[in-house]
């Protein structure tokens, strides 16, 4: 099995994700790690909350991975997304891609995170000192 998709309520394990995509056939691994930033447009962020429509989110992530496998010669692809409340510095998402050659790994990894942010039913709420906002909900 060359792909792994999980939506988890526990903290993500970066090391385990990287170990999972490593293989003797691969020459390079690109890993994207999202982290909770302490501010949005200069406004301090206290924490984030992520919610997912889990079965559809997994299905949409798998679609993105299938597109990726058609577009680039990659070997193993892993996407882990966390849900629940995350503090500043915690990791909402890890995308790891191994490939024989690094160009494919970089391009596939970037395609996956860019597309995930556009199509996968996961929602982020930002908590500020004076309120909370579902990100991207309004124009």
């Amino acid at each position: 099995m060359d792909t792994q998709v999980k939506i988890l309520s526990e903290p993500l394990d970066v090391g385990a994700c990287i170990d999972w995509v490593m293989s003797p056939q691969s020459g390079g691994i690109d890993v994207f790690i999202g982290t909770v930033r302490n501010a949005t447009k200069g406004r301090p962020v206290l924490k984030l909350e992520f919610e997912a429509y889990i079965p559809m989110a997994i299905s949409e992530i798998n679609k993105i991975i299938q597109q990726t496998l058609e577009l680039w010669p990659v070997q193993k692809v892993l996407v882990h997304h966390r849900i629940g409340v995350l503090q500043v510095g915690e990791v909402p998402v890890i995308i790891a891609v191994s490939a024989a050659h690094r160009d494919a790994a970089f391009e596939a990894c970037r395609y996956i995170i860019d597309t995930l942010k556009q199509t996968v039913p996961i929602w982020k709420k930002e908590f500020f000192e004076d309120g909370e906002v579902w990100v991207a909900a309004h124009p």
Partner: protein, 81 residues
């Protein structure tokens, strides 16, 4: 008449004040009909940047007919990652 249950996520949950919603629609209603009905009751839906209906874990066109057996969800603008 068909009775459908709607799952709500993100800001849609706040707008409906509920994470599931039961709606009665006339026979042969489509995803577009559902949106029109919801927008009547919950006009704040129209203020969203966009929103989609998902049927059985797939984004649905407005023309897609709905049945009572479908799993139907309202998908406001996503913001994962």
């Amino acid at each position: 008449m068909i009775k459908i249950e709607i799952l709500a996520f993100g800001i849609a949950k706040d707008i409906f004040g509920a994470s599931t919603l039961n709606v009665d629609l006339s026979d042969d209603s489509s995803a577009g009909d559902l949106k029109a009905r919801l927008e009547q009751t919950y006009p704040r839906l129209k203020q969203l940047a966009s929103y989609m209906v998902a049927v059985n874990n797939e984004y649905a066109q407005d023309t897609l007919p709905l049945t009572e057996r479908d799993e139907i969800a309202i998908i406001p603008p996503v913001s994962g990652g």
